[in-house]
């Protein structure tokens, strides 16, 4: 049997598979592709991409700046809100002068430059100490005294507010004593040659200063007792306000001796 190779070849060609051609490049070129999927190499950044990156960096910087500004503004506003409150509290609620004798040791380190210290300078203790250091009232700053008495909140109810701890302090804070002190101060206004200021607010300080000058001659005593004694001596000294100040000072300097004996008995 002869074999015809051509026939065999034709037979196999009939059953041979159709060659499959996948020409992706031509097919992709035929498809209208968008700009981002173009055939350009992806490593090289496009113009749009570069512009976007630059704007993104600028946006980062501006965002950081804006954030920092917002934080600083918030902190500043918070500080501005918090700052006046302690300042006003110190102005509106100065330390009560009558409460000073209750704790004299704790008030010692407070400086006289602050308003609170100015309020403390009005009590007899401060005046006594100032007189001890330097004779005369020149040590006391009159402007401080004016400032303090000009404050209506301090001048009015100040003697009534303190909580008296002992019987002596309660007696001092009683309305009868207050009335006596005001009458004595009114009398002192008429005769005081030292005070240059014509306002009657400064007057109540002078009898106290005079009494403290009188007590300066006596022996040094403890601070708590000195305040009490000063206020006690103030009352009997008030009827003698009509005399000149120098004689008054001499008389009051001689007066404390028997009183001291009374207080010691007490």
């Amino acid at each position: 049997m002869e074999i015809d190779l051509r026939e065999i070849q034709a037979l196999h060609a009939r059953y041979a598979r159709e060659p499959v051609v996948i020409d992706l490049e031509n097919q992709i070129r035929a498809i209208p592709a968008p700009l981002l999927l173009s055939h350009e190499p992806t490593n090289r950044p496009t113009r749009l991409r570069r512009a976007w990156n630059a704007r993104w960096q600028i946006g980062h910087l501006s965002l950081a700046l804006i954030g920092g500004t917002v934080v600083c503004a918030t902190l500043g506003m918070g500080a501005a809100r918090l700052w006046p409150s302690p300042h006003n509290r110190a102005i509106n609620n100065p330390p009560v002068p009558a409460a000073a004798p209750a704790s004299p040791q704790s008030e010692a380190p407070v400086s006289a430059s602050t308003p609170a210290a100015a309020a403390q300078a009005l009590n007899s203790q401060a005046l006594e100490s100032s007189l001890r250091n330097a004779p005369g009232l020149a040590v006391v700053d009159p402007s401080v005294l004016i400032q303090d008495h000009g404050n209506p909140r301090v001048s009015g109810p100040a003697p009534v507010q303190p909580a008296a701890t002992t019987d002596e302090q309660k007696a001092i804070a009683s309305p009868i004593r207050q009335r006596a002190m005001t009458s004595a101060s009114a009398a002192a206004v008429a005769t005081a040659p030292i005070v240059a200021d014509s306002t009657p607010r400064v007057a109540p300080v002078e009898p106290a200063a005079r009494a403290s000058a009188a007590s300066q001659a006596s022996a040094p005593q403890s601070q708590a007792h000195s305040t009490v004694r000063h206020l006690v001596h103030l009352h009997p000294a008030s009827p003698m306000d009509g005399q000149p100040s120098t004689a008054d000072a001499q008389k009051s300097a001689a007066a404390p001796a028997p009183r001291n004996g009374d207080v010691q008995l007490f």
Binding site: H12, Y15, I22
Partner: protein, 144 residues
Amino acid sequence: MKVSTMKPQTTLNVTLLAAGSAIEGNLILDHGLSLFGIVDGSVITNDGLLHIGAGGLVKGQIEGEHVRVDGTVEGDVHARGSLEINGRVRGNIFYSGTIRLGERASIDGQLKRVARELTIESEPAAIAETPNAQSLQRPATAAQ
């Protein structure tokens, strides 16, 4: 993305086993085969045409995508695509595509159309138990 292109196949790859040759053992190919000799074993082709020419003899099972039997097969025949028989088959026939019987077709076995996946492995026991299976022992005459 890696793009691979497949070039068109220009040459036809076919194995020819001419008359006067004999192979003892299984023969497995990935392309077409034209057999005019004698093979004592199974012949399997994954692609192309498995052609048992006139005068060719296979003593075993044959399996291919397209099968054309003009000679003699003493075993089962598995055809996944098309099957043309114009010779003699002594065994069962499993096909999943089309079948064509020639004027010189002689089938001594059972003929069953199965799924494409089942053409790979024969199920002689299951076929024997099938009641509807037809035994084509008579020589086929021009079944086209």
